[in-house]
Amino acid sequence: MARLARLALDDDEVGRYAVQLSAILEHVDAVRRLDTADVPPTAHPFPVENVLRSDTERPSLDREVVLAQAPVAENDRFRVPRIMGEAP
């Protein structure tokens, strides 16, 4: 789960979370066991139609202001470590 969620955990954390998450899953089991035949799911409290705005140009956030908050920026871009693995 931690790998899927991109969370680097130490061994202590893994042990602790395994116990706690099992307890939480047990608690929410009432939901899993519920008879919900013919009950539709609710994703949002009120039905929302498509919300559109007029397709007109408007200023977006200032690039310098946004990049100033980045951990590392270079040449008007966010800089990140290598994304692709080495070729085999």
Binding site: M1, L7, A8, L9, L25, P45, V72, F78
Partner: protein
């Protein structure tokens, strides 16, 4: 009991009227507020940042408007505090998380601009459980906030800093966000009024997302009238939030004093056993409403008990999705690694605290292939059952009453090691969140050890006006010593 009554700044309407009339300056009102902060902040830790210079500049702008014969607005010169998950241009907005420490938002939340446009003066950013996940502020990366009624106890959470700031008389009005009870629970534990509006009544633009289908911003104040005014100012349609309801802000103050004669009030019997002191307060509150002319009856709504387990699937699922944005790329903390995935994982592993990581993993699990239908899908259906149960109840009742919380403020450390014990704090507040309905907590009684007890008033969607009328009647019947502000 260790707390004693505090000097009062006066009602919001009173402050604004005197500032508008030029009888006292916004700068003078601000000085009273900041003095109180200086006196008590060391004990309480309500704030992540007190923005003295920005507040003085805002107060001076209000005073200039008054001198120029212009009207600064209905909150002219009112000092306010903002939960530190509301974006403020150029002022650090951290969500009380290491992963956002020092982040300067490039825009203001709509609520922040509306408050400024109404003449309010923001004095700082208040402490919270990290990313609004928690019920005690013990999950803040910057240390907990203490309850002004008893410094050994939690103020509740997640909006504990905002609640404690109002309860200690630092500000007469503060704002928080409520996903499963994060306004109502700390309001109850701090002896003040807290309101979660109907989903969509207040714009979420600039509120850092936790669980988007549940999050709403709302006010804290010491009186129902002040909370009503605070809500009127921030409510109303905002095109920047696509879930914002396209209707005008509700009118609350106009009908606040109309009383409860003839209103049908239901006591939710399923929550009375939740805690004896708090249950007793609800029964006493119902008797007070009956004496004021309401028709009171008990009602069983057992489906509401599905709320807690459904919420602890839905909210973590939405959180795991929303918090995927903290990846060490665009803002906040980065912990380097040899490749992007390792950098992401190290950043998140180090930047997030224990509860946030727990909920992200829980949510990731509930949404993962093979478990989605069993957990997330089922929880969404349980949400439907909660909504249907409310619909049936509101055919017979105009409002419902429950305790806000199962217990009064608890000592630090007493629940941190048991997540489920902490989650139980939200038992009574979660159902309205799932339904998108409004709910308010009103201080109504004191426990034998002198701690405040809140009663929760629930209403159907967009029922804010009747809800606040009932809240005002409860306030009129409650002992004055049950509400803040207090001096620790």
């Amino acid at each position: 009991m260790t707390a004693s009554p505090a000097p009062e700044l006066g009602s919001l309407a009173g402050i604004a009227a005197s500032v508008r009339a030029g009888e006292r300056s916004a700068r003078a009102v601000l000085a009273v507020s900041l003095d109180r902060v200086r006196e008590l902040e060391g004990d309480l830790h309500c704030f992540n940042e007190v923005t003295v210079e920005a507040a003085e500049a805002d107060a001076d702008a209000v005073d200039r408007m008054v001198r120029a014969g212009l009207d600064p607005g209905p909150l002219a010169g009112v000092p306010v505090a903002l939960k530190d998950n509301l974006c403020t241009v150029g002022i650090p907005t951290t969500c009380s998380s290491k992963i956002l420490a020092g982040w300067l938002p490039p825009y203001d939340a709509t609520v922040v601009s509306r408050l400024r446009d109404a003449g309010a003066v923001a004095i700082g950013k208040t402490n919270l459980d990290e990313f609004a996940m928690g019920s005690s502020t013990e999950n803040s990366a910057f240390g907990p906030t203490r309850n002004p009624w008893d410094l050994g106890r939690v103020p509740g959470g997640s909006s504990g800093g905002s609640a404690a700031a109002v309860a200690a008389g630092m500000v007469p009005l503060a704002f928080g966000s409520d996903t499963g009870g994060s306004i109502r629970q700390p309001a109850a534990l701090c002896g003040i009024v807290g309101v979660k509006p109907t989903y969509g009544v207040v714009s979420r633009y600039g509120l850092i997302a936790f669980a988007s289908s549940l999050d709403q911003i709302g006010p804290f104040a010491t009186t129902v009238a002040d909370a009503a005014l605070g809500l009127e100012v921030i409510a109303g349609h905002d095109p920047m939030d696509s879930t914002s309801l396209d209707r005008p802000a509700p009118s609350l103050l106009a009908t606040l004093d109309e009383g409860v004669s003839g209103l049908r009030v239901g006591i939710v019997a399923d929550f009375l056993s939740a805690g004896s002191e708090c249950g007793d307060a609800v029964v006493a509150a119902a008797e007070a409403l009956a004496a004021a002319g309401a028709k009171v009856d008990q009602v069983r709504i057992p489906e509401l008990l599905l709320g807690l387990p459904a919420y602890y699937v839905i909210a973590p699922a939405e959180a795991s999705s929303n918090l995927s944005r903290y990846d060490g790329v665009r803002y906040g903390l980065r912990v380097d690694g040899p490749d992007a995935e390792t950098m992401n994982a190290r950043t998140r592993g180090e930047g997030f605290g224990a509860e946030v990581k727990r909920r992200i993993m829980m949510g990731t699990y509930a949404l993962s292939a093979g478990y989605y239908d069993a957990y997330y899908g089922q929880a969404q259906k349980a949400r439907t059952l909660v909504i249907r149960a409310f619909e049936a109840a509101y055919r017979d009742f105009d409002v419902l009453l429950t305790p806000t919380t199962p217990s009064v403020a608890f000592p630090f450390g007493s629940k941190v090691d048991d997540p489920i014990e902490m989650y139980m704090c939200d038992l009574c507040s979660i159902p309205s969140s799932l339904a998108g309905h409004p709910a308010a907590s009103v201080p109504f009684a004191l426990s034998p050890e002198g701690l405040p007890i809140g009663v929760q008033v629930l209403a159907p969607a967009l029922g804010e006006a009747v809800m606040m009328r009932v809240a005002a009647s409860l306030e009129a019947a409650a002992p004055r010593e049950a509400r803040g502000p207090v001096t620790p």
